[in-house]
Symmetry: C2
Subunit: 351 residues, 2 copies
């Protein structure tokens, strides 16, 4: 089959790789219907993470189960499934407490499993899924002829809408609150949507790109702040009686964006952060003095995926609006370029 | 009158200073019935904070109102009052949202007010209290003949029991949880008490001093861990099915204690911290990977003081048990030494 391999910063290629097969009795093989490029895939693509050797990439996909191991009970061949961006057993203490990203048997796509067998990345034609029962989220009544709008929204349940939801949920967004969102990528936009769904009254989206501002408004943003840094902080404070927002959702992961988020938060408020930290130093004296909480981390997408799937199927939310480009998997390299150059918010790849 | 002045690390003296007077119409003058030495007073005493010039010190006291300015409405001469460790107006947005430590008109004892007039420290015979209505917490039915046990408990409401409560409350301690407490000073012990009052089922106190372990058990600790560092983390994990505690309360403020607290927390758990940070660098990658929240900061004691006063008066809690020494104010220097050398958990000073 074909799958995406990153060789070096700026160098991703679609290559011939071995077909996935059931290795462990808890495995499934899933044929990918759609995958996508994540903002976090851009870290190695831009050289912010090292790429020491060619490796498989991609961690968001939906597809059809093709084969299951002898111990798999909860999914069956032919089913349409969402794969969260981490695989997990569903049974250990962290999984049962809703933190499947800390699963004692789990791991990430494109690496090795705990027995040393390689696991496929998501940007390919098919994937061996370890711990299939714990990992996969079935979607009844949908098959691979699903229309592209619904497909897009289901695909976001594997990561971005769950990650945005995690930011808002862990920050403790409640009805009536004022929420600011730092970051206007797919996760930031999803955080706007989550804040609205959790009842925020005022949602300030920080964005300087018109297309993203439009999606932010569709998702519930009531105010847009284009400024960054000191000016951005001042603008948020001006909108909030000089105090800062009740909750600020940090969806970038740089030191600059984290400090901006903290400085935009009112005394006693909380920053929910989900951007993979790159060079973040938390200003603990500022946090201490103003009683600013920091909540979040790597989103256990699995914990939110069923709830989000149901909201999508009910037409309550349409997180798939973050996709503004669909390309054949063969054009994966152009997909990365489009996101790197901010020509696209998020690119869907179809094998 | 006499009041305590810190001249340099290790050098505190009781000196003759000007008698306090009402300066602003919102002031009160309070005659001190009891004050005490705080763990945070030891930072400058030990040289961890600079002492550039002699300055007044002490920020926990209770006393009798002697005089009030023309605009003071809520306290009157003759009343027994608790003074939280920060003075605050009670009326601005941060005050009204329960974060009086961010008061727009407030400040700390022993410095200057916003008009540049000096404010007395708490370790003296009397104190000019700015923003008296917002700051002082009256205690009805008590006068300066109050017995020393009740006095001790009322005095803790000015700081330590409120600070311990803040750690537990901001960390989100809930009934049934397992809570570990790092730090066995008066604040750490108060955090044990707060965790019990908030319904924690299991409370692990980390302490290597027998007297403190005894108070911890009285306050509700179910387990004691004497080890620190890696071994301390391992011991907490062993008590918690390998996971770590649901909530860990960091009541020291060093980088070492913060990392120990974070490493003792289960995935998805929260560290509540109230120790004034000294050299703390938050390990954001660890926090991100394990979804560890960090909550807390400088405790708005005023927000908790009435509730705590009522619990004390009702005999529901006896936080004054943290005092194991009472000295005349004239012996303030020995009081600091006793706490510095850990001969005393907390020293009460009586003018």
């Amino acid at each position: 089959m074909k799958a995406t391999v990153i060789h070096a910063p700026g160098d991703v290629r679609l290559e011939e790789v071995p077909d996935p097969q059931v290795v462990a009795p808890t495995d499934a093989v899933v044929r990918v219907v759609a995958s996508c490029v994540c903002g976090s895939d851009l870290w190695p693509y831009r050289g912010a993470n090292e790429v020491n050797e060619p490796r498989r990439i991609g961690h968001e996909f939906v597809g059809i189960v093709e084969e299951t191991g002898s111990e798999v009970r909860d999914v069956r061949p032919g089913q349409f499934v969402i794969a969260p961006f981490v695989w997990s057993c569903g049974d250990c203490l962290p999984c049962r407490s809703g933190f499947q990203t800390s699963c004692e048997r789990g791991g990430g796509w494109g690496g090795d499993d705990r027995e040393g067998h390689p696991v496929d990345g998501g940007q390919g034609e098919a994937v061996r899924v370890p711990q299939a029962d714990g990992t996969l989220v079935p979607v009844d009544g949908v098959d691979d002829s699903v229309d592209e709008r619904l497909l897009a929204s289901l695909l976001t349940c594997s990561d971005v809408v769950a990650t945005g939801w995690h930011a808002a949920s862990r920050a403790g967004v409640e009805p009536g609150m004022t929420v600011a969102v730092v970051g206007d990528g797919a996760v930031g936009l999803s955080a706007v949507l989550a804040a609205r769904e959790l009842g925020a009254e005022r949602i300030i989206a920080m964005s300087r790109y018109e297309a993203r501002q439009g999606v932010a408004r569709e998702f519930g943003a009531t105010d847009i702040v284009e400024a960054r840094g000191d000016e951005g902080v001042a603008a948020v404070r001006e909108l909030t009686a000089g105090q800062g927002a009740d909750r600020v959702l940090e969806c970038v992961g740089t030191g600059e964006s984290m400090v901006q988020a903290l400085r935009s938060t009112r005394p006693g408020g909380t920053v929910g952060y989900v951007g993979v930290p790159h060079g973040v130093e938390l200003p603990v004296e500022l946090m201490f003095r103003r009683n600013l909480n920091v909540a979040g981390g790597v989103a256990p997408a699995r914990a939110y995926a069923e709830m989000l799937r149901d909201k999508v199927l009910a037409g309550q939310i349409e997180p798939g609006r973050v996709f503004d480009a669909v390309m054949p998997l063969a054009d994966v390299s152009e997909g990365y370029r489009a996101m790197d150059e901010r020509r696209a918010i998020k690119v869907m790849l179809r094998p």
